[in-house]
Symmetry: C2
Subunit: 271 residues, 2 copies
């Protein structure tokens, strides 16, 4: 059976990232439908609402099936315009704000675009500083100010330390350093540098040798570094070292950076 | 009036990031309530559901007010256990999946943890490659393979290029290079290197001199680099250059990386 097709709009007065995240998670539940997804951000006036409705209706006509529209719109006037489109509309805020107001016994402020603004600037500043810290402590560059880190990732080269570190900094404002475990460390039988000092901050990533081989081949095809045999050796030695040092670890092979990060935060009680 | 306090749980069978994003965007609408927020990820069995319900009920008792619980749970048994807690529960999937099934005329797959898994691995791979590309093209390191970039950010040092580049790579899988505009470029009156070749990929960030002065003072206190007068000069010259070269730009001073990224994508029609 060919997949059916449907056009989807995420309409928001802010970035639309929240509408997109929730809409996307709902859509992944329908594997046999192909969704063409469009984010429509900053819809914060009646004019912009009419413009996006024209686009939505045009898609509905072209598809011969009404579009799906997920909204996080706060302004009642803007919301009403979008709701009156030819689409099937699901309004997250309208579904949940009224019950929440009743439960909390207060009116909501109906302020547009609050999710990703920087009104909580101390929290935002923390994220930016964490990104800088993490970039400055990528790939074992330095042990300077390592005591200020929230977490230190270790693992063989190309097991996913850098993307995970950056994601955790960006999303959660965590200062994440990362250090590669390399053959010299295995020969010495010791963690690099003075890492043992920070044992409670250490967490390991490991990876299946076959997966590592594939990743390294893309980087340095045909090299000894990428050879499956060498990948097997490094992974086995790294796991042995982590076990000996009492470092918890997880296998990153089939996990996304979101899943890896969430698992680490849970294990180390970082919040 | 003192802020009232309320404990909030984001309960999910996956990472809980979607539940947290939507829950957080709803909670920002209630400025006079202080929310203590907890993410409860990977609740994918009846045992784990009972354990989190025990924690939720304990908080409700301790607060003297029932907790708020936002869920993205797919499994009906797990969901029912959480719904039966002493909390005020809002189930995103239960509110929207049934209407979506009716609209699409198909049953959803009820597969847990789909949002952030890597089952769509080509898309995930694209994000990881974009992060690597972006790191390798940070701060004007190289023009190598610049033709493969989706976007090239330019602007004075410390105007927000690096965090924005990394966010766009991580969130959208875009390959974003960034180049600083420095006093030598202003003296020569030319964009750095061969950037003019890639004019359609260029986008500028600018910043208020007062804000730049503050950011640079944190980095190099008392330096000529950080001095307000120098910040004024650099920002004015950078804006002049961008105008002359026909480069669109935005002021990052009061925008989050999410807002900056969304605006750029809209302006350059990147999706």
């Amino acid at each position: 059976m060919p997949k059916s097709k449907r056009t989807v709009f995420f309409v928001s007065d802010g970035t639309g990232l929240t509408a997109e995240a929730l809409g996307h998670s709902l859509l992944t539940q329908f594997e046999n439908v192909e969704f063409r997804q469009h984010r429509a951000p900053f819809i914060d006036s009646a004019d912009k609402a009419h413009a996006i409705v024209a686009r939505i209706n045009e898609c509905s006509r072209a598809d011969g099936l009404r579009a799906l529209v997920f909204t996080t719109l706060i302004d009642p006037e803007v919301s009403a315009i979008v709701q009156a489109s030819d689409a099937f509309c699901m309004s997250f805020f309208e579904s949940f704000l009224a019950p929440l107001e009743a439960e909390l016994g207060v009116q909501s402020s109906h302020t547009v675009g609050r999710s990703h603004d920087i009104s909580d600037s101390s929290n935002y500043q923390k994220r930016i500083e964490a990104i800088n810290f993490t970039l400055n402590h990528d790939d074992g560059i330095t042990e300077h100010e390592l005591e200020k880190s929230d977490l230190i990732l270790v693992g063989v080269s190309r097991c996913g330390k850098t993307p995970t570190s950056l994601y955790m900094a960006m999303q959660f404002g965590l200062r994440v350093a990362n250090f590669p475990l390399i053959p010299e460390d295995f020969e010495r039988g010791k963690l690099p540098g003075n890492l043992t000092r920070y044992r409670d901050k250490l967490f390991g990533l490991t990876i299946k040798p076959e997966r590592l081989n594939k990743v390294r081949e893309e980087r340095r095809a045909g090299s000894r570094y990428a050879a499956l045999e060498n990948c097997r050796y490094e992974v086995a030695e790294a796991e042995k070292m982590m076990q000996r040092e009492g470092i918890r670890w997880l296998d990153s092979s089939s996990k996304s950076i979101e899943e890896i990060s969430t698992t680490i935060m849970q294990e180390l009680h970082l919040e």
